[in-house]
Every structure is written in C-alpha cells, then in structure tokens.
C-alpha cells in the first residue's frame, strides 16, 4: 500500500522459502520480516504507524549520512 501512494517507494513481497540465499543474506529467522532500505527492520506484524516510523527513520538517517 505504501508503494501505491508514492513514486519513491518500492515494495517487494519476497517468498523466502524459495530463495534461501535471500533469507540468509537478510537474516530472516521469523516471518514476516520487514526491511527498509537495507538498514531498518522489524519482525512480525506491526501497525501502520510502525511502517511510517521506519520510513521516517531511514529517510532521516540517509540525510544525516550516519550509520548504525
């Protein structure tokens, strides 16, 4: 839904059972797992606000060019 509202958002639903190398690369031990810009992630179903919070976190983090 996020990707429908903004041309800057790409959303992939990835079935990791078929692609174990992806599961390994992203350290997926529980599903669903959600990763934002390779830097912020969370496990499990979260409310909409958590997604928006993560999006704000990654976009601000990129601006500050800091790492964590």
């Amino acid at each position: 839904m996020m990707a429908i509202e903004s041309d800057l958002v790409t959303a992939d639903v990835v079935e990791v059972g078929e692609f174990p190398h992806i599961a390994q690369r992203y350290q997926v031990y529980a599903v669903p797992k959600v990763v934002f810009n390779e830097s912020v992630s969370f496990d499990g179903n979260r409310p909409e606000a958590a997604f928006i919070g993560a999006i704000e976190a990654v976009t601000q983090k990129d601006e500050g060019d800091s790492t964590s």
């Binding site: 800057l8 059972g17 692609f19 909409e48």
Partner: protein, 150 residues
C-alpha cells in the same frame, strides 16, 4: 484442474466487478516451459505461478497478464529490479513499484488479490497522516517484506 477453488473464483470475480477501476497489467518474469532444465536455472514454482495468474486475470477484463522470459529478457528484468523468478510486477494506477518475488501462495495470495484492487484504484486505505508522510518523501524507500507460504 484449477488452482483457485470455484468458490474463491466467484468471490474474487464479484469483488473485482465492484472494486476494480483502472486496468492492471501483471508482468510476470518466468522461464520457458520447455521441459528441458538447465542446471542452476530450474524454477520450481514458475509453472504453477503462471497458471495461478492466468486464473486470476480471467476473473476480470480489467486484468492482463504479460509473461516474459527472464533469461532472454535479462535487460528488461534488470531494469525492473527483477533478479529472481518467478517475479510479478504490478502496473496500474500505483505511483511506486509493487512486486512479488516467488510464488504468491498461501496468505500471500490474499495479499496479491487485495493489492490488485489498490493498484487498480491508485488509492489505499492508509490513514491521512501516513499518506501525507509518503507524499512528502524526497528520497527513495525500498521496503522488502519477507514471508513464507502458510
């Protein structure tokens, strides 16, 4: 033998009759179904995914399926960010990019069915604050949701 049970087909057909607005193209990247398997290039779920999508697009004249060969159209696939198959790219009224990597089985089938409605309408039921935040983004955000079929 259909993959989608008749009862579900009837439900989705009615849903789409009521909710779909604009046309949606489901662009699937797959491999040729020749029966010959090149080692390292076997796509275990491509055939079933293709059949599933054919059944889905048959439920509304607003839906169209394009099937591309990942191995002979690598540049097009790469341009869309497709690196694994099967992959499905949804194109309609959506502003951003919506993709499914791997077979949309189990719960993800429901997600696909619902996403097709949102992509067709170009709107979502997200809260106003969320939509405002998304509309004001100035840099790209790539969200990956990892799932398994359940």
């Amino acid at each position: 033998m259909p993959i989608i049970p008749q009862e579900d087909q009837d439900y989705i057909r009615n849903l789409y009759e009521e909710k779909l607005v604009g046309k949606v193209t489901l662009r699937m990247y797959s491999q040729r179904e020749t029966g010959l398997l090149v080692p390292g290039q076997e796509c275990a779920t491509c055939r079933d995914t293709r059949q599933l999508l054919e059944e889905v697009v048959a439920l509304s004249d607003k839906l169209e399926l394009e099937v591309h060969d990942f191995y002979s159209e690598r540049e097009a696939a790469a341009a869309e960010g497709v690196t694994e198959i099967p992959a499905i790219v949804l194109e309609g009224e959506n502003k951003g990019t919506v993709r499914f990597i791997g077979a949309p089985a189990g719960y993800e089938f429901a997600t696909l069915i619902e996403d097709l409605v949102d992509v067709s309408r170009g709107t979502t039921e997200l809260q106003l604050h969320s939509r405002e935040t998304l509309a004001s983004l100035t840099e790209p955000v790539h969200i990956k949701v990892f799932v398994t079929p359940t």
